[in-house]
């Protein structure tokens, strides 16, 4: 292991390593850390984090799916992902037991496999690792449900085999005192399909870095995200899609709403199309709805294209207030202003929530958004 050799091909593909010591302690001036309030990471980034945190993992697996708890020496663990920043390397060096989910070749899971990660103590740090292996031509849905109180850093690997299909829904519904820094890396085989939903609603600071790399042509990744930042909350999503082989497709659509003082949302969307990735088809989008004064949005789409032979490559980012014309239209039909506001926000986020394939989860997310809207502050 150790530092990967070779010159990075682009600014979006910096170094990676399993060793914490290979990464400088961030100061907050680095591009990858400049939006994150380091003080609130509780030392996860600089080795000073208190010990003794606890995150309990409970699994409710589909009958076709096997789930194991394994030690650090299991060769599947860490096979797809090399940590890309210091917190990720810290999580890698610090976890004791990993969860490995395996969907056997050609198996079609008849139910979602749900991993419930429940934080029991936020005063100390906890570390985790999860590896999901979907063997060739298998089909599965995995739900990662994060709740409770925690200071938690983890890495999650999704290894999607040739012709396989994996849908992941990661719910960040932490208590207000939680900090969660996570990398979710998907490695897609030939003709593999991956759909990732991130729903970030709860926690003091949540920083999720979903990434996708393709190892064969025909890979298809759709990454969706919904977040709702309340006063004082920091919700950050940093995406990297690495088109390293020809004829793969990616779609990114992240949408969030923000309300009240010091609600902060960060979205970074990096897409790299390498010279050899001809026939790439990619589009990424981030939209933010600012519901009150006092919030902050940072949205940075970044597309680096090293070949001209693409099917499509585009990105868009918009952040703005509720559209007065939307509200006027709904109000002009008798709908009171507060209800009109809720309808517009619900509609805006609902277009992504509707894409969540698991009805139960979809309904719960819709309810959670309703709850956020209920406590909505005044304009």
């Amino acid at each position: 292991m150790g530092l990967q050799t070779g010159t990075p091909v682009s600014s979006l593909h910096a170094r990676s390593s399993y060793k914490v010591g290979d990464f400088e302690v961030p100061t907050g001036r680095e591009e990858e850390w400049r939006f994150t309030p380091l003080r609130r990471l509780r030392g996860l980034h600089n080795g000073t984090a208190a010990e003794g945190g606890k995150v309990v993992v409970e699994v409710d697996a589909a009958p076709e799916v096997t789930v194991e708890t394994v030690g650090r020496d299991d060769e599947r663990v860490g096979s797809a992902y090399v940590p890309a920043d210091r917190v990720s390397a810290q999580a890698w060096e610090s976890f004791d037991r990993a969860t490995v989910v395996t969907v056997p070749k050609e198996a079609v899971a008849s139910a979602p496999t749900v991993l419930r990660l429940r934080g029991e103590d936020a005063s100390g740090a906890a570390y985790g690792h999860t590896t999901v292996v979907v063997e060739p031509f298998a089909v599965a849905t995995v739900v990662l449900s994060h709740r409770g109180s925690a200071t938690y850093a983890d890495n999650v690997e999704f290894i999607v085999g040739d012709g396989a299909s994996l849908s992941v829904i990661s719910l960040q519904e932490w208590d207000d005192d939680s900090v969660h820094v996570s990398h979710q890396h998907a490695r897609l085989g030939r003709d593999a399909r991956f759909t990732g939903h991130n729903v970030s609603l709860g926690g003091d600071l949540v920083r999720i870095s979903p990434s996708v790399v393709y190892t064969g042509p025909g890979g298809d990744a759709e990454l969706y995200g919904v977040y709702f930042a309340d006063g004082g909350q920091h919700l950050e999503h940093r995406l990297l899609v690495d088109h390293a082989v020809p004829h793969c497709r990616s779609r990114v659509d992240y949408r969030g709403a923000l309300q009240d003082q010091d609600a902060h949302a960060v979205w970074i969307g990096d897409v790299l199309i390498r010279a050899e990735a001809e026939g790439t088809d990619t589009y990424e989008l981030n939209r933010n709805l600012v519901l009150t004064d006092g919030t902050r949005v940072d949205s940075v789409p970044n597309l680096e294209i090293l070949t001209g032979e693409v099917v499509g490559a585009g990105h868009a980012s918009t952040s703005g207030r509720l559209d007065d014309e939307h509200l006027f239209y709904l109000q002009s039909r008798g709908v009171p202003r507060d209800e009109a506001r809720r309808m517009v926000v619900r509609g805006f986020l609902g277009q992504l929530i509707d894409k969540i394939e698991v009805a139960e989860v979809r309904d719960k997310v819709a309810e959670a958004i309703e709850a956020e809207l209920e406590q909505e502050a005044h304009e």
């Binding site: 039909r333 008798g334 709908v335 202003r337």
Partner: protein, 255 residues
């Protein structure tokens, strides 16, 4: 029996360094149940401003005059209160609202205006029938409101709302613009169904006389330079058809 009374209405738009610009300069108009009024006038005469001012769009500031519905002060009401009081504005450019389905929107509007939520089954039946009357594909019920609709589809949906909300007074702002003849007929039939209920008043704002072949006005008003400059019966529309607005715009310029 309802009466919308507009008295000496002055409306300005814009503010700041450029200053507010007065668009309506003293409008007097009374619309009663059972009456259909057509307001006709050249582009830029302030017809749409009148419509938006009645509905309460925040962009338009009423600087003088009054608007009452059955004696109640409309100008003191919020936009949604006006709708619940019985006013309706069919917009020239209906707004697209992503993620809010037509059926969900209609149900919310109907609930707000009627003061209670309709039973789901009855509401669905009523909506289906209303859509059928306007030759709207039932699949539209699940689509996002106005999103990706053609101009004609948007206008049909405005009339769909009109028929389901059954206001006392409906203001139709250039509902005919951008419609082909078939769509114009369908939309006109909807307006006539609404108007023939007897206790509804219609204020039809249009640039063209074409729609007046299908929706017969009782009164025609010519609008120029922010006020009504001439009023008459249906015969006035024929004069406008033949002579255009030229004499009014010239008159306006010489004022």
């Amino acid at each position: 029996m309802a009466t919308l009374e507009i008295r000496d209405l002055h409306v300005s738009v814009g503010q700041g360094a450029d200053g507010a610009k007065e668009i309506l300069r003293g409008v007097d108009l009374t619309v009663r149940s059972g009456e259909t009024h057509a307001i006709m006038g050249p582009n830029g005469s302030g017809k749409s401003t009148l419509a938006y001012a009645i509905a309460g769009h925040p962009k338009y500031e009423v600087t003088a005059g009054s608007v009452t519905l059955d004696g109640e002060d409309v100008l003191a009401m919020s936009v949604d209160e006006r709708a619940r009081a019985g006013l309706f504005l069919a917009m020239q450019y209906p707004v697209e609202v992503p993620g809010v389905s037509v059926s969900n929107f209609l149900r919310s509007a109907v609930t707000a205006v009627r003061g209670e939520a309709p039973k789901l089954r009855e509401f669905s039946k009523e909506m289906r029938q209303a859509m059928q009357n306007l030759s709207i594909d039932p699949a539209f019920a699940q689509r996002s409101l106005n999103e990706g609709f053609s101009g004609g589809e948007k206008k049909r949906h405005e009339i769909l709302q009109l028929e389901m909300l059954q206001p006392k007074i409906a203001v139709l702002d250039e509902t005919d613009s951008g419609l082909d003849v078939d769509a114009l007929k369908v939309v006109s039939e909807g307006i006539n169904r609404f108007g023939s209920s007897g206790d509804a008043g219609v204020l039809l704002i249009t640039h063209y006389t074409r729609i007046l072949r299908y929706v017969k006005p009782d009164f025609v008003h010519v609008f120029a330079d922010g006020r009504i400059v001439e009023a008459g019966g249906p015969e006035l529309a024929e004069v406008l058809e033949n002579e255009g607005y030229e004499k009014y715009t010239k008159a306006g310029a010489s004022l």
